[in-house]
Structures are given as C-alpha cells and as structure tokens.
C-alpha cells in the first residue's frame, strides 16, 4: 500500500465520519492546502502516541454512523526539537524576564473562582518578588517613583470612573447599614416610648389616689387633728398602700366603712364575675339525672295569697 493511497483512504473515512460527527475539521483544509509533502504522511504514520478519538457524543447513537479512530498527533521528538531551536541562547535574564514558578499551580476545582484566582495571584506574586531581586542585581530600576508621569495603559477618565464606582459601592453599603440601624433603633425606641408612657400613667394614677386619700383625711380628721404641713406630708408617705390607708382610717374612728359590696353587685358577680356564666349550668349532673320525679313545679314560687276583695270558697 503506497502512502498516497492510504492517505486517500484516510480522507474517505474522514468524509464519512464528517457526515455523522462534526469534529474539529476546520483546521484540516488549511493544513492540506498549504503543504502536501511526504513528511506529512510520515508524521501521521509514525506517531509516538496512538490514541483513539474519544466518542464525545455517544449518547445519541442514531446520529453516529462511523466511530472515529484517527490517531492523534503528538510528535514529542519534533516538539522538543522545535523548542530547542526556538530558544534564545546566551541572553542575560534581564532580556527575557521569564520567571518560572517554584511549584506547579494546582487548582482543585476549576469552577471555584476564589481559589483559582488566588493561586494565580500567588504565582504572580512570587514571580514579582523574584523579579525584583533579579532586576536590582542587573542594575536596572524596578520601582516606579511617584512623581514619574507618563502615558498610562488606562486613561485618567477611566480611572476616575473606576474610583467613582468604588466610592458608590462603599456609600451604598454605608447607606444600607445606616438604614438598618435606624430601623432597629426605631423599634427599640417605640418599645421604650410605650414603657415610659405606661410608667407616667401609673405615676399619675398613684398621685391621684394619694390626693383623694388626702382629701378624705382632711375631711374626716379636720376637727380633731391639727396636722401641719410637714406632718401631712409624712402622714401621706406612710399611707401609700390603700389597705394601710383603710386600717388607719378605721383606727381614727371614721364613720364610713370601707365600701361594701351591695346585694346587686354580689348577685351580678355570681352571674358574670370571675369569667362570666359557668358552662353546663343547665346540664345534668349525676344527682340531677338520678333524681327521678320529685319535680315540684311550685318549688320556689310563693303560694298565691289573695289580697283584698276576693272571698274564699267557704264564703261563696
């Protein structure tokens, strides 16, 4: 089999595969147009690594007709030769300024942006430190002085925009934090306000009670006791409790008793007091359902007594 024929076969199989599987054949026309040498074919046939193309779309079996088994290019000998040919020889470091990291940059998860960017940052930082030493050794200036003005990569307007954006962001954060704080304060303040109000109310009622007490005392004990202002005050302070006030007043011999509950009040209390009417008032209990008969219609009702002009049967 001549190399040319095998190449034709390769092309045919590629075309058949192209119908089914659109793998990256974009480069192929460029390559084939430019150079069609014998070297080409040699490279294909003598590969250091023969790998089968991974079937990336095996999920949809119906579309794939032919499985690609073209060997992948990886001519390591040629790669190393080219790299060596390319190398610039006998140049001091300051010409090339290439720093290789001491450890390979490994990122566990590519999707994790923080870790990835951090590893890149660390690699660059290490390189910058090494480079500074090397540059100083070579005698060149490394640090840019602060008064050195020259054209920068980004214009001044752009940098102003960047600065503005940063400022806006900090201001926004601050504003939201302030608003939050105000809201919390307001809630707290409301609580405090309510408490204060209640306290003031309580104080007011206390004061009024004291005044009432005082009035009563004055009325009752006006004839007997000659209380001076000081005594009056002291007397007041001693009788802050209502109960104690009561006992004091009874001791002084006042006519009026402590307010007693009237009969009406007592009756109403039994009906509506302490939580209202009791439930099951009209339900049967064990005794009531056990008491058969004995129902006295006239129980509790007064016996009718005629008054006035009506005469009894005996007389009629």
């Amino acid at each position: 089999m001549s190399p040319v024929a095998s190449r034709k076969q390769l092309r045919k199989s590629k075309k058949a595969a192209k119908v089914a599987s659109p793998v990256e054949e974009v480069v192929e026309p460029v390559v084939e147009q430019v150079e069609e040498e014998e070297d080409d074919i040699e490279e294909v046939l003598e590969n250091d690594e023969d790998e089968e193309d991974e079937e990336e779309f095996s999920d949809d079996e119906e579309d794939v007709v032919v499985k690609e088994q073209r060997p992948l290019y990886n001519d390591e000998a040629a790669l190393t030769r080219l790299a060596n040919d390319l190398k610039l020889k006998d140049l001091p470091w300051i010409e090339t300024m290439v720093v290789t990291s001491s450890e390979p940059t490994v990122v566990a998860d590519v999707e994790d942006e923080m870790a990835r960017e951090l590893s890149f940052y660390q690699q660059a930082l290490e390189a910058a430190n090494i480079a500074r030493d090397l540059v100083n050794q070579a005698g060149d200036a490394f640090t840019r002085p602060d008064d050195y003005f020259a054209e920068m990569l980004k214009s001044d307007e752009h940098m102003a925009k960047v600065r503005q954006r940063l400022l806006d962001e900090t201001a926004r954060l601050k504003a939201s934090a302030d608003a939050k704080r105000q809201r919390n304060l307001k809630k707290f303040g409301k609580k405090v306000q309510v408490e204060k109000q209640l306290e003031r109310q309580k104080q007011k009622t206390d004061m009024l009670d004291k005044i009432k007490l005082l009035k009563r005392k004055r009325k009752d004990g006006a004839g007997g006791d000659l209380t001076l202002d000081n005594d009056f005050d002291i007397a007041l302070e001693n009788t802050t409790d209502k109960k104690r006030a009561k006992t004091d007043s009874s001791q002084k011999g006042s006519k009026k008793d402590a307010p007693q509950k009237g009969a009406k009040r007592a009756h109403k209390d039994t009906k509506y007091g302490m939580g209202g009417k009791k439930r099951h008032a009209k339900s049967n209990t064990a005794e009531s359902s056990g008491a058969l008969g004995g129902f006295n219609k006239m129980k509790g009702k007064p016996i009718y007594k005629a008054k006035g002009k009506t005469v009894g049967k005996a007389k009629r």
Partner: protein, 291 residues
Amino acid sequence: MATVFKAAEKAIAKSDGSSKTKDKRANKQRVMLLSSRGVNFRHRHLLTDLEGFLPHSKKDAKLDTKNNLYVLNELAELNNCNNAIFFEVRKRQDLYLWMSKTPNGPSVKFHVQNLHTMDELKMTGNCLKGSRHVLSFDKTFDSAPHWSLLKELLAQVFNVPKGSRRSKPFIDHVLSFSIVDNRIWFRNYQIVEKNQLNTPGCTTLDKGDISLIEIGPRFCLTTIRIFEGSFGGPTVFENPEFVHPNFIRASVRKEKLKKYQDRQKSIETRKVRVKEAEGQESELSDKRVFE
C-alpha cells in the same frame, strides 16, 4: 581625510558601542497584530489592549481571508516582524488566536474563552503604557514537550525587548500564564509596593512589600493544534480535549430536541402496543354479541 575619519569612527564604535548593538541584535522581536473580518467589539478591545502593553507590536489592517493564512507570512515580512498574532473570528462569536514565529517557525492555534477586557470597571489596576513586564510561567510548562514549546513561544512573543523603541523604563506589571484544566490562563497584574502614601499603617518592616492589583485583560486559551510551519505545515500536536464550540451549541440544541423526540417516540410505541393488544376477539366482545 573623510575616509580616515570614518575608519577611526568605526573603530571607536566597534570597541565600546558593541555592547549596545549586541543587545539589540540579540533579542530583536516584533509582533504583528491582526484580525480577520467580522470581529466583535470585545475582540477589538482585546486587540487594542494587547497593542497597549506590547510596545514592540505593530497593528495592521484586517485580513479579508480566513483560509489562505499563508499570506500572513508575507505581511509579517513587509512589516519587519518576526512574530504574528492573528485573531480569527468565526460566526462573530468564536475567537481563535493564532500565534506564530513568522518566517518558518512553529505556530499554534488557540481557542479563546472567558474573555474580559481591560475596560471592565472591576479591574482597578493601571500601569505605564509600554513598560517592560515580568513573565511568570507555571512550573507545569516544563512537564510536557508541547507545554515547553508553548512556553518558549509565549515568552518570545510577549516579552518586550530591552531596547524597544516605545518601551518605558520601570517594571510595572507582571503577566502570568498558568495551566489549569489543560488550558492556559492569562492574567495581568500591577505591581504595587507598600509605602507611606498608599497604606496608612505602613512601618519600615513591611515597606516595599509587593501587592498585586489586576489590570486586565484576562482570558483563557485552549490549545487546538500546534503546527511545525508558520500558519500551516504538519501538525505536531493536537489537543484531544478540545471540543469545537459549534458542537457544544449543537449538543445543547439536541438536548432540547430530544425531549420532543422522546415524546413522539413514546406516542408511536403506545399506538403499536394498543393495536397489538386489541387483536384477540373474545366471545363476549361487543361485535359477537350484537351480531
């Protein structure tokens, strides 16, 4: 007399000026920056950014062909460049970056993803336009032959030669190339040294501590193929993990299509099943009874 003077001048130049000219000759690199037609605004901005921090570059007009890339070799020669960076844009969406040592050196085609240009307001760093930069490579570049070739190529294309005309004196920024997930990630950081001005609580101990601020642009390169010649030639390396963006888009659409197809299929199978099931006519079927 004139000839005697000239000879004397030459002799003097040879003796002490040789070091200067030697340096220039030793590392004379020029990069030609090009794009194809149909570029996106983002790609255009990237090209401008690259032109900004590669002072040894020359931006050229758009190339109207995407297939006959060998003309780039001639263009480079016209511009006196020995490196070329070409942006090939397909479907106004996918950016492919060609990098090559133009007369006959190796070339490589990358697929560019995750592109963020320098204009993004989140990248707050800034540096001198055209200052020489430090190139930081990952150690993984020494692990495989294709990576070491790429390292050489990137180092030569991105490095600013010492006596370059538009270059500025100080070293302001560092370009970093890292290999993660079989891709090359590019970052550009500004070198900031701590001093009294920028940090309030600076002491003599941490004065001169370097910190980095990202300038941009940032992108991620996936190797597709490495060719022995410039913009052509035999392939010396092919990346098995490269998936064509067309294919990714097609597979996304196929998945949506699959749902509908599955449903249609199940309807068909159900019809067949129902038909098969109703074949037998028993004695008590309606047909027989109500004859």
